[in-house]
């Protein structure tokens, strides 16, 4: 059975590969995003050597690396679930002896791997040729970073599952999905590191799962977090990954009872 779940990763990876135009344009989009933010941050920093705990060199690396993380943790599971509910194909999923949510998670993972390997790494090479990035020299930082973006994927996907399952309860969950997307992009620290927010907002954000998606792994990678802070950051991520399981299961149970199948 485990091999079936692995197959879902493999098949999604291959399916993504089949759409080639998407592939090439994806690399350009990622390189462009990083480039734009690079110049934006350069302008913001001006002559200042350090802002909100990040040096100018660190912030460019932070931007590059948080986009790299985003390529991996980002997925459209919420939209996929909503679509399957809308067109009724969720019925087919329910007659298969597997966990629907776990399969979705695997498909998201296949997609994330694809983006990381096929968009982001080539994109990063392009970016490194154009802009000075200071990548960490310690191998442990790289290891911890990959562990942490694993958690990022998990937390972001869990939020997507929750948003997607809303489609069982709402006639149209488009609004909820957009709201979630804005929240994640804004509050996770991809656009603006959390340390740049005003004090009260930082305190509030520390109690939300979004910062665990991008800010924490980015900070560890760039060296803004060190020593015991790294362990704490991983702990926060792990705690959110566990804490989000319960609401998903509760929602899934309620959804099963409410399930309706559109179109006969």
């Amino acid at each position: 059975m485990a091999s079936a779940y692995l197959d879902f990763i493999r098949i999604r990876f291959l399916t993504m590969l089949a759409y080639r135009v998407n592939y090439y344009s994806g690399i350009v989009v990622y390189a462009l995003n990083i480039g734009v933010y690079y110049f934006l941050w350069k302008a913001i920093y001006g002559d200042a050597s350090s802002l909100a705990g990040f040096s100018a060199a660190q912030i460019t690396t932070y931007v590059a690396v948080s986009w790299m993380a985003r390529s991996f943790y980002f997925n459209n599971l919420d939209r996929e679930i909503a679509n399957e509910i809308r067109d009724g194909s969720v019925a087919i999923q329910m007659v298969r002896p597997y966990s629907y949510l776990l399969v979705k998670l695997m498909q998201g993972f296949g997609e994330g791997l694809f983006r990381l390997l096929m968009f982001m790494l080539p994109g990063l090479v392009v970016v490194m040729l154009l802009f000075p990035l200071s990548l960490p020299g310690e191998p442990w930082r790289w290891l911890v970073f990959f562990l942490m973006i694993g958690f990022s994927f998990l937390i972001n996907s869990q939020l997507n599952l929750l948003t997607g399952l809303c489609a069982f309860f709402l006639e149209n969950n488009e609004g909820v999905m957009r709201f979630k997307r804005v929240l994640v992009d804004l509050l996770s620290g991809v656009v603006l590191p959390i340390s740049f927010f005003p004090g009260w907002a930082r305190t509030a954000l520390e109690w939300l799962p979004f910062q665990a998606i991008a800010y924490l792994p980015g900070s560890v990678f760039t060296g803004a977090l060190n020593g015991p802070e790294v362990g704490y950051a991983i702990g926060v991520q792990a705690a959110w990954s566990v804490a989000l399981i319960l609401p998903i299961l509760l929602m899934w149970r309620a959804a099963r009872r409410r399930m309706f199948v559109q179109g006969g």
């Binding site: 079936a4 879902f8 019925a91 329910m94 007659v95 298969r96 002896p97 199948v261 006969g264």
Partner: protein
């Protein structure tokens, strides 16, 4: 243990009611009103292992909803379901290994990958051993003639080709119960026949229990030993197709062609006293309607010697016609008029054959609750 057992099964859906006008729309924003729709109303039946049962009814009668509850997709509002010894919705992941499901209007194969890749993935999902899978696949490839299709992507298949692949996909794990929701919809007559033959063989050789919904009554005639008819969420008939026809066909029509013109009045005189009805088509042909409780021999003995009959043919009421009549009346109980007519002449010796058939036809579970008479409001 019956393969499928259903007791007082009910499913209701809550649907929002939209109020009219702008004011209504604004009110909807704050407090939504819901309406309850009953899709399946307390139905009960049991299907023994190895039976092929047809589940028919008009669109929206509740057929698909029932199948979806039986397959573990939907959770019933109330009542009891047991399929292959499992409560489908509760033990879903274990339970669905025992069943196969085909939805005529939905594909269960992965659109972007080759058929054989879909099959391989299903093998893993259902945890079928490699050797079993090989054997089963070879078998299915042969009987459903899939050899040329296996390496094509699903999106490049015609509907008929896809349907054969869907059937194979549903059977790779050798389920003991097969649910088919309109399996022949949109297929040409060749593929339809092929699929019917395949299902018959499957049932005969593996003892697979099959429950299928369809709008094509030829599916039912070709396959089903039993029919359950649904209307507005209720079972209005449960029994054999023969019995349904017998109960509902009120008689047969005999078509005559005469060698010479015959006056309608002459025809009427000949059958005087018999409850039959003549319809004259033209001077040289006529149609005679004979109720089913009148022996054809009684009628013919009066006619054969006196009329120059050139040709004669019998017309039974077709299944399509019968089912249409039932759908329209919303009840499968014999119409009141025919019932009354029968009641008036119960002692007639001509009726004997009919009566005894009805009496000894028992033994099947279906007889116990033959007809749930039901009058629409």
């Amino acid at each position: 243990m019956p393969a499928i057992e259903v007791e007082r099964l009910r499913k209701t859906f809550k649907v929002p009611v939209h109020r009219e006008s702008l004011k209504g729309a604004l009110l909807d924003l704050f407090r939504r009103r819901y309406k309850e729709i009953v899709a399946v109303r307390d139905i009960s039946f049991r299907i023994p292992q190895g039976e092929i049962c047809g589940y028919i009814g008009e669109n929206g009668a509740g057929k698909s909803t029932t199948i979806k509850m039986l397959a573990g997709i939907l959770v019933p509002t109330s009542g009891r379901v047991e399929v292959a010894g499992f409560v489908p919705w509760r033990d879903r992941e274990t339970f669905v290994r025992r069943i196969g499901v085909v939805f005529g209007q939905r594909s269960q194969l992965w659109w972007d990958i080759g058929v054989i890749e879909s099959f391989r993935l299903l093998r893993k999902v259902y945890r079928v051993g490699e050797a079993d899978f090989r054997r089963r696949l070879d078998e299915l490839t042969e009987t459903l003639q899939l050899a040329d299709l296996l390496n094509r992507p699903v999106r490049k298949l015609s509907l008929g080709q896809r349907m054969r692949c869907e059937l194979a996909a549903a059977l790779l794990h050798n389920p003991s119960i097969l649910f088919l929701d309109e399996p022949t919809i949109g297929l040409d007559i060749v593929v339809k026949t092929q699929i019917r033959e395949f299902l018959k063989k499957l049932n005969r050789e593996n003892g697979t229990t099959i429950l299928l919904t369809t709008h094509d009554l030829q599916d039912i005639e070709a396959l089903c030993s039993r029919v359950i008819m649904l209307d507005d969420g209720r079972i209005i008939y449960d029994g054999s197709l023969e019995e349904l026809k017998e109960r509902w066909s009120k008689g047969r029509e005999i078509r005559f062609r005469f060698a010479a013109p015959v006056a309608p009045s002459e025809l009427a005189t000949l059958t005087e006293g018999l409850p039959v009805r003549w319809t004259a088509a033209d001077e040289e042909s006529a149609r005679l309607w004979v109720p089913r409780d009148i022996h054809v021999s009684d009628v013919l003995s009066r006619l054969v010697g006196s009329l120059p009959i050139l040709d004669m043919s019998f017309q039974e009421t077709g299944t399509d016609e019968i089912v249409r009549a039932i759908y329209q009346s919303g009840s499968a109980s014999v119409p009141a008029a025919a019932e009354a007519g029968e009641a008036q002449a119960p002692a007639a010796p001509a009726d004997g054959g009919e009566a005894s058939r009805a009496a000894d036809g028992g033994g099947e579970a279906s007889r116990e609750e033959p007809v749930e008479a039901h009058v629409r409001g």
